[in-house]
């Protein structure tokens, strides 16, 4: 199967333009990260220098990986059923666009802003820690392996969340239901990263590599399974 880059880019660009002009989407993408940013920042600022010893054995910043897991779920949940509800899906499906191209365009359009938001929040968090937290706490928190984990797992978690969200969106008949189910489906990955952040699951290099490989595979499978679930006839006629 040949995937046309031009068609994928057409869907991607159209989606980004729509997001930019849709206040509700911009607000949703901004609010969730803010919630995840404020409380940890306050806690970190309040930590005394003596806390640095304990922090050096934990990975509390992995908590921020919840952002790439949750933020794209909202956009991905909207992606197919939203178009269907506003009546724009049928004209698109009458063009030669393949479902894989359509879905790839949608997924990239959800991925790019999610990555931008996640990395920006992480960078902002690190900058605040370096500038305002106790120097001992800052050096305990800002570590190379954590930074690497954040860089690596952000797109993988976002990707998984996007494919699950689009898959649900392709089979739903209501935007809100699709978004809620998409968020619910993202919770297991949030739970895992939170358990690692709280040191319930001990982070090791092996765990990181295994987790990354598993997520990579899930992302690939997600694209294939979502493509298989994307049924033009069902989407057009609403048949179950």
């Amino acid at each position: 199967m040949n995937v046309s880059k031009r068609r994928v880019r057409a869907i991607f660009r159209k989606e980004l333009r729509e997001y930019r002009r849709n206040g509700a989407i911009v607000a949703t993408m901004a609010i969730l990260p803010l919630i995840f940013l404020i409380q940890p920042l306050i806690e970190v600022f309040a930590l005394p220098a003596s806390a640095s010893g304990a922090l050096s054995h934990e990975d509390p910043l992995l908590y921020l990986l919840a952002i790439p897991a949750l933020v794209p779920a909202i956009v991905a949940g909207y992606s197919v059923v939203g178009e269907r509800q506003q009546g724009t899906l049928e004209p698109v499906l009458t063009t030669p666009v393949r479902r894989e191209e359509f879905l790839l365009g949608k997924a990239l359009a959800a991925l790019v802003p999610s990555l931008a938001v996640s990395y920006a929040v992480y960078a902002f968090f690190l900058a605040c820690v370096e500038l305002f937290a106790h120097p001992g706490v800052a050096s305990a928190l800002v570590r190379g392996p954590d930074l690497l984990a954040q860089l690596l797992f952000t797109p993988l978690l976002a990707g998984w969340s996007i494919w699950v969200g689009i898959g649900i969106s392709a089979r739903s008949s209501e935007v809100r239901v699709a978004q809620q189910l998409g968020l619910l489906a993202s919770l297991p990955s949030v739970a895992v990263t939170t358990l690692i952040a709280l040191n319930v699951i001990h982070a090791t290099l092996g765990l990181a590599l295994g987790g990354a490989a598993a997520l990579l595979l899930l992302n690939r499978l997600g694209w294939r399974i979502t493509s298989a679930m994307f049924d033009r006839e069902r989407l057009i006629t609403g048949a179950r």
């Binding site: 046309s4 031009r6 899906l89 698109v92 666009v97 033009r232 057009i236």
Partner: protein
Amino acid sequence: MGSDDGAPGLAGLPERYGDGAGRQARGTAAIEVKHLTKHFGGRTAFADVSFSVARGEVFGFLGPNGAGKTTTVRTLGTLIAPTSGSATIAGIPLTPENGVEIRRRVSIMPESPGLYLRLSVAENLQCFADLYQAPDPKDRIERALRAVHLADRAHDACGTLSKGLRQRVALARALLSDPEVLFLDEPTSGLDPVAARDVHELIDALRRSGVTIFLTTHRLEEAERLCDRVAILNTTLRTTGRPDELRDRLFAKTLTVRTLAPLPEPGRVFAGLPAVDSWHPDGPAGYVLAVSDPAAAAPAVTRALVAADADVLSISESHHSLEDVYLELIDQDQKASQQ
């Protein structure tokens, strides 16, 4: 939708249609449908539909609500898979594997424009030009917008346009791909008469440039004016043909005679005329004569009336519209379903 250069509706149409290239191919089938059927579970959308549309033809597809018109368009546009039967669109067999290739050659304008309302007209068209992988998309967009007389609204957000203008944008979008077959599903639905006339002019222009048009409509006068042939669908295909053919097929040709006073012995006047097959009274001083050739019968009837000393007010050929044909067929269906 007159053009800027005085040739109504032609400005901006794809160049390949500009000099009769399409007309050369007239005669070969652009759409060939054989025994096509679609069921949704236990419900039949349409059954055993067969027809053929020649290249460059404007083919009207008429039928009441729920008759299966839109489902037929969606099936031929590869959005829906048929339950049984076969079809060839733009020379390509309708199979799941050929979906992309068929969609490359046809364009469908759905009943609802389905535009991205937050995007400008040009941005909407840019997206679709890329989806069709149209060469030189900027030029295509400009030509399509000129064809629907919207060049000056290219940068307006679609959400700010009236319904009629949105319909025109949808039509411009359908023209972007330079289609061999253009499916128009109720293109004038909800439009005011002026906007509807603009769409008619564009369809006329497209016909002149050789595009095959498959037009579903509720407006019978629209079908009668625009279409070379029409089909009437009511789940099954009731009839297909030129509007005048359908009239002849369904209704006997008649002459209606009005006289100042009732004829004392109308049977003696009409019954002996070889051009008149039968007759019946129509009001106190009116008579309807069944004839096989109204042009030949009218002078003979006039002479007979004059010979009978009748004061003739009028002799006219009865005209049946496509609407009469349509209503007659739908009435027949309703009666059949009641029995």
